[in-house]
């Protein structure tokens, strides 16, 4: 079997003296959607922050054969990893279109950046309608779509998504997840999705990990986790 696109081995992370991650092993294959489930404070966000170089860690993170150790967030983006942070992180006082253009900052070919903006407008027609509005005035769901489109503007091979369902109505979340699936199928973009909303996330993912107190407790195919009642009740609470 070939090397996975993202390979995390024995990852430890600390906030001050508190150990946030303990020996995390996790892999994402090319074109795969992987969901990382867990309760509040379990360490889900920390894993994403570690990948993006926002956090000093021990252990190894390799992306497409390159080590990410000691790299800055800017370098990680340029290697092909997009990151949609928790709470969406849109640029509130920039227009929708400016948000997308910032997303293409690492690319030098202006024409293809403009083409991509048009492409994501086709995927998210609401964004086209609101292209000249400040992002702060968008609804929660629209902001989430903008944040995803902004991250995709760097043409990542791997997209990190930190709780895209946070604060969204169930129907909007379903819509966002359906779009993610579609992007994954059409563009082949691999995704590492962090979620508390296990039920919906398992529907969209191929594989899943469950993290608790900084340790990976369970991993397997999304289907097997879905069907394992005991595991579901113990870790996912539904």
């Amino acid at each position: 079997m070939s090397e996975p696109l993202l390979q995390i081995r024995d990852l430890d992370a600390f906030y001050g003296r508190t150990q946030a991650l303990q020996g995390v092993d996790l892999a994402v294959d090319e074109h795969e959607i992987v969901v990382l489930l867990g309760a509040n404070g379990a360490g889900k966000t920390t894993v994403l922050r570690a990948i993006s170089g926002l956090l000093a860690t021990r252990g190894s993170i390799a992306f497409a054969g390159t080590s990410l150790g000691g790299r800055t967030p800017e370098q990680v983006v340029r290697l092909g990893i997009g990151h949609v942070p928790q709470g969406r992180g849109v640029f509130g006082d920039l227009t929708v279109e400016e948000n997308l253009r910032v997303g293409g900052f690492t690319r030098s070919d202006t024409t293809s950046v403009e083409q991509d903006i048009g492409r994501w407008y086709d995927v998210f027609p609401r964004l086209r309608e609101r292209r000249t509005q400040a992002a702060a005035y968008l609804s929660g769901g629209e902001q989430q779509m903008l944040a995803i489109a902004r991250a995709l503007m760097s043409r990542p091979r791997l997209l990190l998504l930190d709780e895209p369902s946070l604060g969204l109505a169930r129907l909007v979340t379903l819509d966002v997840f359906a779009t993610l699936r579609e992007i994954n199928q059409k563009e082949g973009t691999a995704m590492l999705l962090v979620e508390q909303n296990a039920e919906l996330a398992l529907d969209v993912a191929h594989r899943a990990y469950v993290i608790e107190s900084g340790r990976i407790e369970v991993s397997g195919s999304a289907e097997s986790l879905h069907e394992d009642d005991a595991m579901r009740r113990a870790y996912l609470g539904y």
Binding site: T72, P73, E74, G89, D93, L94, E98, R101
Partner: protein
């Protein structure tokens, strides 16, 4: 209570004009604070002193080395760009890891060191300011002949023109270039900017570079207006510039310009109209305005509310 000339149109117009030209200097200086604050939420307290250093260097270039005024100005502006970037990279960046107070104290230390250095190198006596005009601020453009006359000096016109050019250039730069868009993105959300591949450290350096050059330009114009320069010349400017920046909103260029011009007018007009208020009370007026702003609208007239520093 009211000044006896208060009914005279030319007298009032003259107060307004000198208020505007003084205000242009406050506004320009305030813009230099805003440029740094927007991206990094840092206050560069040393900016004015770096400006003094620049204008004294200019004086030496013109008197001892035979440079023309404009050539000397170009040299010190380029040096200020480099100096500002260097300051950010070598002193501010390490201090920033220890928090916001470490940064403020570092800029305060640079303020004191540069101030003392200028005093040591060039002496504490006032000397002639480098100026493109004879006698400092040059001839007058008379708008209403007097007495009393209403006029603008060439120095005033240069100050107002510089403000317009600097603000115009910054506005175009921020809204029409890729680098400017990146700068606004950093100002809007540092984390997302970083995750979009924007190198924060280089953006901060660019901000400090531009800010220091604007401070140097301000110091040059203060010298032109006063006709002389001394090592304390930028100390009162620090109070007025910070007032304008605070009242206008520390992250708003437009706020800095409007508040700077308004502050200049208030500082000239109030003592000019009310005999009870002497001319030295400008600083008090400024401080009262800052206090009122902080009480009523802490983010300033045009500033955006920020809950926390990311």
């Amino acid at each position: 209570m009211l000044d006896s000339d208060v009914g005279n149109v030319a007298y009032l117009l003259q107060l307004l004009l000198s208020g505007l030209s003084t205000g242009a200097l406050y506004a320009l200086f305030a813009v230099s604070f805003v440029v740094v604050w927007k991206a990094s939420s840092h206050l560069n307290l040393a900016a004015g002193e770096l400006g003094s250093l620049a204008v004294f260097a200019m004086a030496s270039l013109t008197t001892s080395l035979g440079f023309g005024v404009w050539a000397a100005l170009a040299v010190v502006l380029v040096a200020s760009l480099g100096g500002g970037a260097l300051l950010q990279h070598t002193l501010i960046r390490p201090a920033d890891r220890r928090g916001i107070f470490a940064v403020v104290l570092t800029t305060l230390a640079v303020y004191l060191v540069v101030n003392a250095a200028v005093g040591l190198l060039w002496g504490t006596q006032a000397r002639q300011a480098p100026s493109p005009f004879a006698g400092g601020s040059g001839g007058q453009l008379v708008l209403l002949d007097g007495p009393p006359r209403a006029y603008l000096t060439y120095g005033d016109l240069l100050a107002l023109g510089t403000l317009a050019v600097v603000v115009g250039a910054i506005t175009i730069g921020l809204h029409r270039t890729k680098l400017g868009l990146a700068y606004r993105a950093v100002a809007s959300n540092r984390l997302s900017a970083s995750l979009s591949g924007i190198p924060l450290s280089r953006m901060y350096m660019a901000g400090w570079a531009v800010s220091t050059a604007i401070a140097a330009m301000t110091a040059f114009l203060v010298g032109v207006r006063n006709g002389s320069i001394d090592f304390q010349m930028m100390t009162p400017m620090l109070a007025f510039g910070l007032t304008a920046a605070t009242v206008g909103g520390l992250d708003s260029i437009r706020g800095a310009v409007i508040a700077g011009l308004a502050l200049g007018i208030v500082v000239e007009l109030v003592p000019g109209v009310l005999t009870a208020v002497s001319g030295d009370l400008g600083l008090i007026i400024a401080l009262v305005l800052v206090l009122l702003t902080l009480l009523v609208r802490p983010q300033g007239l045009y500033g955006t509310k920020r809950l926390e520093r990311v």
